[in-house]
Symmetry: C2
């Protein structure tokens, strides 16, 4: 049967977006639905590449845009400005996601399964169980990797009891030491030195919009914030050109220390006041240090969005 | 425990909106979640009153608006313009729905369970089964009534295999003859004579919006279209005043014959061309007859929306 329904995560795909689309396809096939195919909307990052190499599997095919009427399934996102080019004219059959909802609409009813969990793969793992399907080692490692990535080994405040339980069970199925495997995987994702400033800024940047004001929150993980800050001047040049070319009101670049669970923020744009109000702190040299802040979804977006 | 989470269906509640909110509260309590309470956003219609009288239960409490930060659960709708006054500032914890998605957004992740079924109660019935809860006679009749209402006794094109299976099983649990009960219930809802034209127009009117253009699709069920058409002049006066006072581009009033599965449409407003294009028919005396059309969701909204 032709695989004519495309499954994909968000632009600048992270480990959850890639792993959850692959796992979604597997789940569909187990349910006897053979026409879906996982694809991706951007480059595979180093953390995700570590997972794929570990399993010896290939990344899903890259796509740039979809045609009008293309049938699609979204995982790990819903906002159109984080999705594929052409999404407005696609036919969205289903969504599995764990984010807030905005900039999303359809002309027809659809399947929408969202839960306020730390990771899309946790929702998928519960689906495997609900349908009574067994979970093979490959799927288990894909889902475990997504959970480790999104929750920073269960240390992010986005972590729920569901994620903890799922990761424990997946570790048992996969017969891996989650702590060891997880640290190795996270560290693989923090090797930032051979990225250009342009690449760093785009690596995991999410486009947001509120009341017509466009803003971006980008994030990189590291084991040493100062290493990234050494490149602040050049990073700011890139950010300023993004602001200009995309008409952005604000660009927030979060450098997150995954070992100590803190973030340093670089913020530029006409609406940096939204960042200052959000955290009740003044920017100094366009920067502010946020202790205990690691989650864009839970600790950055809602408070910045409220002040835009 | 205080019941501080409100569950409600859409404005101008129909049988699915009322029954599904009551059933949602029951399901929450079975899941050990005692803090939710079903309420309603408008008058109980005659069809729904028939169901409540049959069961000897009271309608949920009426609310007009919610305060900022009120925790809410939506059933049978998601669009803010069909929801409670103040919804933009409420905290939406969960949604169970079977409609297209639009004009909806949240600042935080949430539970969202949508399926493209004929009725919200069919989704809820599957939830009862997924959680392994037994279904009592009252819940069974509430859910069966919602399915009968939304699918016009499984005759509407919105009907899915899931709805058929659910209604059959619910009929067995409730030990009622679905066909007999259902016809009696539907007919109770078509006693339109003692409604004013103002009431008829508002009875089941849904507000829509596209690219800043506001339009309304209202619907009444009847066993005799001509009985309603006798009042066309006065109905048009009411519709014109709605168009003026609410800045509408289009008002579609569908009179649906539930026995023969046809509809007569009255359309007024600057954008009646959208109706003419949608069905490739000219309006005569502001009216057009649509054979086989009974479903607003499936047969009216998508084609009209596309031509707005």
């Amino acid at each position: 049967m032709e695989e004519n329904v495309l499954i994909f995560g968000h632009k600048n795909p992270d480990t959850d977006s890639i792993c959850s689309s692959i796992v979604s396809e597997i789940l569909d096939k187990k349910n006897g639905w053979d026409c879906t195919k996982a694809v991706r909307l951007g480059n595979v990052n180093k953390e995700t590449q570590f997972v794929l190499d570990y399993l010896g599997i290939k990344a899903p095919e890259l796509i740039e845009s979809v045609e009008e009427g293309q049938q699609v399934i979204l995982v790990d996102h819903n906002e159109f400005n984080q999705s594929v080019i052409g999404i407005e004219k696609a036919k969205i059959l289903a969504v599995t996601d764990h984010h807030r909802m905005a900039n999303f609409e359809t002309s027809d009813p659809l399947y929408y399964n969202a839960k306020p969990y730390g990771c899309t793969s946790t929702i998928l793992f519960e689906e495997f169980k609900a349908f009574g399907h067994s979970v093979e080692r490959t799927e288990a490692i894909l889902m475990a990797s997504a959970i480790i990535s999104d929750t920073l080994l269960l240390k992010s405040p986005t972590t729920t009891e569901h994620d903890k339980k799922a990761l424990e069970e997946l570790g048992e199925i996969a017969k891996i030491n989650i702590e060891e495997y997880g640290l190795e995987m996270l560290k693989a994702g923090t090797a930032l030195d051979d990225f250009s400033e342009e690449q760093l800024v785009c690596l995991d940047a999410k486009n947001m919009e509120k009341d017509g004001e466009k803003f971006v929150i980008a994030q990189v993980n590291t084991v040493c914030i100062d290493d990234v800050l050494k490149r602040q001047d050049k990073l700011e040049d890139v950010i300023k050109s993004k602001i200009e070319s995309n008409g952005l009101s604000l660009f927030v670049f979060a450098i997150t220390d995954i070992l100590n669970s803190n973030s340093e923020i670089i913020a530029l744009g006409a609406r940096v006041d939204a960042v200052e109000k959000a955290f009740d702190k003044k920017l100094v040299n366009n920067r502010v240090f946020l202790e205990g802040v690691v989650s864009r979804k839970k600790q950055l977006l809602p408070v910045i969005d409220k002040n835009i």
